[in-house]
Symmetry: C2
Subunit: 163 residues, 2 copies
Amino acid sequence: MAKTWRICLLLLRFLAFSATLASVIVVTTSHERVSFLTISIEAKYTNSAAFKYFVIAYSIVTVYGFLVLFLPQESLLWRLVVALDLVFTVLLISSISAALAIAQVGKKGNDYAGWLPICGQVPKYCDRVTGGLAAGLIAVITYIVLLLHSIHTVLDPLLLRKN
Amino acid sequence: MAKTWRICLLLLRFLAFSATLASVIVVTTSHERVSFLTISIEAKYTNSAAFKYFVIAYSIVTVYGFLVLFLPQESLLWRLVVALDLVFTVLLISSISAALAIAQVGKKGNDYAGWLPICGQVPKYCDRVTGGLAAGLIAVITYIVLLLHSIHTVLDPLLLRKN
């Protein structure tokens, strides 16, 4: 039972790592060039501060997720991993929230501020970024599940165990 | 010593509650009307999905922060509060990240997307929202401090205690 559980957790960690990696790759490689008369503009992630933050945060968590995969089961560092999971989950949530806020304006625009949606001009870029953010969302959800498991094990907030 | 510590934590909780409340009040009451020829536009928080999310999230956490102030010291619910602190801190971080991403575009614009900054047109609105977000940031930092304290007490991730 304990072994099945461990394999399950390892698979979840692998899923989290793959999702962050996929997200970083998809968002960083998304670009599309548009030309208006003499002006040529390239849509890419570095054009937006929120997307840059997203890529940096997700890259850091990808490296962390990779390292944790090789941590031996008996290591004392697992207690630290619970705290690090928390920090990095917060980083993921913060960066994806910022990126989603900008993506929402990119998709729908904002009439009041006079910001036009850009997805009509750069549909391919838009679709790829949407894909990247979807992978990012999967990563966030996986890390939240891992974190809930840790909290359940360590905190027992619903007082299911007697103490 | 334990009593000083408790008063300190209670003061931190009161600061967190005040900061979220101030943030909600300032952002919801910020509005400024601008007219271009025949068109009149009012800048207010409901114009942006990210700001609406910010106000809803901060309102929820304000109510929570108020209720926690009256929780008796001996209550068994304090273990649940640790987990709820985590959930609500995440909610605060997510909503302020989204709001800051939009505020950054509002302030600086985005040349590539052709989104012009709006702070030149509605400076008062901009200043008030900046103030509200600053209060929101204080709230987030206070909740993170409270959470770190809980983690330190419950998890002991740096293995400072022998077990």
